[in-house]
């Protein structure tokens, strides 16, 4: 059958009418709506989540297209250079940043926690076995392990040796390393946690003078500190227990890494040096508050809190929801994590944290 020119013409008109009608019909639905481009600054640990095609598609579905530039959480709320670029939103990795932003007169419209990930200590099976025997690490009923971090920090300050703490495979004094608190949020959070543990409560400004020697010594004796959580994680994996026996990072980094390549995770767990997450009790939550600075970004908060995006954040990147609970149960091919963290201590207030940063700079 051949199509006449007339039939072809009619067909074209019909198709075009359909397309036009369809466009008007669909234009305000999520299928055709032109996404709103929003520019903002985001901590590097959420890079994987925001680059995930599923995340991009879900955001587009709600009419958003994010141009997220990477910046350190501390710098994004206080560096004039960043704020001068007139961002639509900021997405740091700690609630303290909202307070610091307020103090710096950043024009906050809304701020809400989207994701959470606790600060944990990354160690290795042979090291943990020793610490467990020494009573510093406890195995919980759910298979996860907690560490008495206050006691461990005291051992570091006292210059105790690995063998004194039950770890015969390592020599020399015990240690722990985090990222640089002035450059990276996980180190910043750890500094807050250290201050709290040394104070025995949420640190107040009045206590800081008495604690500054110990806080300074702990960070000073880490030696070289990485400037990002991502690179410290890479170094931890590559270096193994001899180089990074104890490193402070976010819980989600190991989950994300395990999810990224299931076969790799199986190989790791079959080896002798297995990564182990130690949960300090109490620990601090790295909350990820989205700070909206422009009306156009207000609705982004709701979208990021939608079940679809929360599910992607959990099942592909290991971020817990705003209340700290994980998504659907963790699968067998993933690190063992606690369902709920009961011992969470708030970070010291912004003023105290700024003083600690000053002390450690």
């Amino acid at each position: 059958m051949t199509m006449t020119r007339r039939a072809f013409g009619i067909g074209l008109i019909a198709a075009s009418a359909l397309a036009t009608g369809g466009y008007f019909y669909l234009k305000d639905t999520k299928y055709l709506r032109q996404p709103k481009p929003l520019t903002g600054f985001v901590g590097g640990e959420k890079r994987g989540f925001l680059a995930n095609p599923a995340t991009i598609a879900a955001l587009r579905g709600d009419g958003f297209e994010l141009n997220a530039r990477q910046a350190g959480s501390v710098e994004m709320v206080r560096e004039a250079q960043i704020l001068r670029q007139d961002p639509d939103f900021l997405w740091p990795s700690s609630s303290v940043m909202v307070e610091i932003a307020k103090e710096n007169s950043v024009p906050i419209r809304r701020a809400e926690v989207i994701l959470n990930s606790p600060i944990v200590v990354y160690s290795w099976e042979p090291v943990v076995a020793g610490l467990e025997a020494a009573g510093l690490v406890r195995r919980q009923a759910d298979g996860t392990r907690t560490i008495d971090l206050a006691l461990y920090l005291k051992a570091v300050l006292a210059g105790r040796s690995w063998s004194e703490l039950g770890v015969g495979d390592l020599s020399g004094p015990v240690r722990i390393v985090s990222t640089d608190p002035n450059l990276s949020n996980s180190g910043f959070m750890f500094a807050g946690l250290v201050a709290n543990l040394l104070a025995g409560e949420v640190t107040q400004q009045s206590q800081l003078r008495a604690l500054s020697g110990d806080i300074g010594a702990l960070f000073h004796h880490m030696g070289f500190k990485s400037n990002s959580s991502g690179s410290l994680f890479e170094d931890y994996i590559a270096g193994g227990p001899g180089v990074y026996p104890m490193a402070v990072l976010y819980e989600n980094q190991l989950i994300e890494w395990a999810l990224e390549d299931g076969a790799r995770w199986q190989r790791v767990m079959a080896g002798s040096a297995k990564p182990v997450l130690l949960y300090p009790a109490p620990t601090v939550y790295s909350a990820h508050p989205l700070i909206s600075l422009k009306p156009a970004a207000d609705a982004l908060i709701g979208t990021l809190l939608s079940p679809a995006l929360q599910e992607i954040a959990w099942s592909s990147h290991g971020f817990r929801g705003p209340l700290g609970s994980p998504g659907a149960a963790a699968g067998a091919g993933q690190p063992t994590i606690p369902e709920k963290l009961t011992a969470i201590v708030p970070m010291p207030e912004a003023k105290v944290m700024l003083d600690i940063l000053q002390l450690l700079s």
Partner: protein
């Protein structure tokens, strides 16, 4: 569900990669990598990937400190990727953060490889060895070792940091306060054991091997575990004694060999090529090849090389790493090494002022000497002299035409420099006459055994005389002094090579950058 989508996305990405890398596609980019010399055995792996992608890859080898210095703000970076022995050099110098996507490709501890019979005699093959044991062996005259310059090469810097750390006791890491007192004292005493130095770990291993062939057997060398393995593979092949690996029980420095991308605006294809190269090196197949060389890789990536108990090698053995100090502390520690702690050097500089040097050659030489003998300028790149060093400068043409001697004190350096400034090119060329005079002056110096001696011959042409006759005329003591050549213009490299080879020296090309050549050469003395 999200996992399925994730997997689907990965599959698409993989398909894209395969399509991009397929035969008949566009040729890949030209790609320049600057790397530490210890990565030489891995170049074939890199080139294989480049060939498959039809890319033109070039690997240039430099000391880690030079790689770091090249990243300082304001420097024109000539490379697309950096691959130093340790990430610390990037952290120290790349303050403009031009390097990104830095990932460790493999790890290797810096260990002391000791000739097996020596290790056995010292009782080191049966029990753990602490830095204090090494010190006792050095101080009783039972052990001397080869070690690269801490201010030019990562393996030397790593050994030096491990030495400083060994006196820390209950502290985990060196801080500024340790740069005087017990730590510095221990390092200085250990460094008296240095028999030969160099600016490159790969070259140091070659020196050990070529000397062994000639019957000169050194006791030991500080080098990467993987480089000791390469040396032992060759020693085993030649039926010679192996090097026993000593892992000081106080902790060893671990080299993490990171590969990073240098952004210099060459577009997304070049970045993509880098990402693919890095992913290939980190893939199970790439890591298996790397692990087979004795480098350590995480267990999930590939199986480690087989243990070789006859030299104490087991890449699965857990070793405690010495933590890297803060970059500012390392910087100060390196200055301390260069200006005070290293074994002092005794250097003869033979400078060609023959007629053919007239014009450009003469002015390049004057500039190089201005750099080398101006403390502030030499200190910028950590090749400054220490007051304990001895410097002998001999300008020559057909004969030695002048001579200045002094210590590394700034006033002495200035006096020598003023002398050099008065020189003008003229006459014939006889470098042997100068080298002979240099050797004579060295032997005449009291306490010569306290110094690390070397002769540097800069020349631009064919010399009168004959290398063979010169070498044959040297006494055994004179032959222990390495002679380094620095070429300029159309120098006859053959003559310099012959005397460098006979004396365990090497030849540097000063044609393009005479100052740079002198600076590199300083790392060997």
């Amino acid at each position: 569900m999200a996992r399925v989508r994730h997997a689907a996305a990965l599959a698409v990405l993989f398909g894209l990669l395969v399509a991009l890398s397929g035969c008949g596609s566009q040729p890949g980019p030209s790609f320049d990598i600057v790397s530490g010399s210890e990565n030489q055995p891995l170049e074939a792996l890199v080139q294989e990937f480049c060939k498959e992608r039809r890319a033109t890859c070039k690997m240039t080898y430099q000391g880690s400190l030079d790689i770091g210095l090249g990243l300082r703000p304001g420097q024109d970076v000539k490379y697309d990727a950096v691959w130093p022995a340790s990430g610390i050099w990037i952290a120290m110098f790349d303050s403009g953060r031009r390097v990104s996507a830095l990932k460790s490709i493999s790890q290797s501890p810096v260990v002391l490889g000791v000739r097996s019979s020596k290790a056995e005699a010292l009782g080191w093959t049966k029990a753990p060895v602490a830095m204090a044991d090494i010190l006792a062996a050095v101080e009783s005259g039972k052990l001397r070792f080869l070690m690269t310059s801490a201010t030019q090469s990562n393996s030397g810097a790593s050994a030096y940091i491990a030495m400083l750390s060994a006196a820390l006791g209950s502290k985990a890491v060196i801080t500024e306060s340790n740069l005087s007192g017990a730590s510095a004292d221990l390092a200085a005493r250990l460094l008296r054991g240095v028999e030969r130095s160099s600016g490159s770990s790969g070259w140091l291993a070659d020196l050990y091997l070529s000397s062994a062939e000639k019957g000169v057997v050194y006791d030991a060398m500080w080098n990467y575990e993987a480089v000791i393995k390469e040396a032992n593979d060759k020693l085993r092949g030649a039926g010679r004694e192996l090097l026993w690996a000593v892992y000081p029980s106080d902790g060893v420095s671990m080299a993490d060999s990171p590969l990073g991308f240098v952004e210099r605006g060459r577009g997304p294809e070049v970045k993509q090529f880098f990402d693919d190269l890095q992913a290939w090196l980190l893939s199970s197949a790439g890591q298996a090849r790397i692990a087979a060389t004795g480098r350590r890789v995480p267990a999930d990536r590939a199986a480690p090389a087989k243990p070789e108990p006859d030299w104490n090698f087991d890449p699965q053995r857990l070793v405690t790493a010495v933590p890297m100090p803060e970059p500012e502390v390392i910087r100060k520690a390196l200055v301390l090494y260069q200006e005070a702690l290293r074994r002092p050097s005794l250097s003869v500089l033979c400078l060609d002022f023959s007629g053919s040097m007239k014009g450009d050659g003469e002015s390049a030489l004057q500039r190089a000497m201005e750099f080398l003998l101006t403390p502030e300028r030499a200190a910028e790149v950590l090749v400054q002299w220490s007051p304990r060093d001895r410097i002998i400068v001999l300008p020559f043409n057909g004969q030695v035409i002048n001579a200045w001697e002094g210590t590394g004190q700034p006033a002495d350096q200035m006096k020598i420099l003023e002398g050099v400034r008065t020189m003008h090119a003229d006459g014939g060329t006889d470098m042997y006459a100068c080298a002979t005079e240099g050797l004579r002056r060295m032997q005449a110096l009291a306490g010569m055994q306290d110094y690390l001696p070397a002769i540097f011959v800069l020349t631009d042409g064919r010399s009168d005389g004959d290398p063979e006759a010169f070498v044959n005329g040297m006494s055994a003591g004179e032959r222990a002094v390495p002679i380094f050549g620095i070429t300029f213009g159309d120098a006859d490299r053959g003559q310099l090579d012959a005397i460098a080879k006979a004396s365990g020296g090497r030849v540097f090309d000063g044609t393009k950058d005479l100052t740079g050549a002198f600076r590199s050469a300083r790392g060997y003395n």
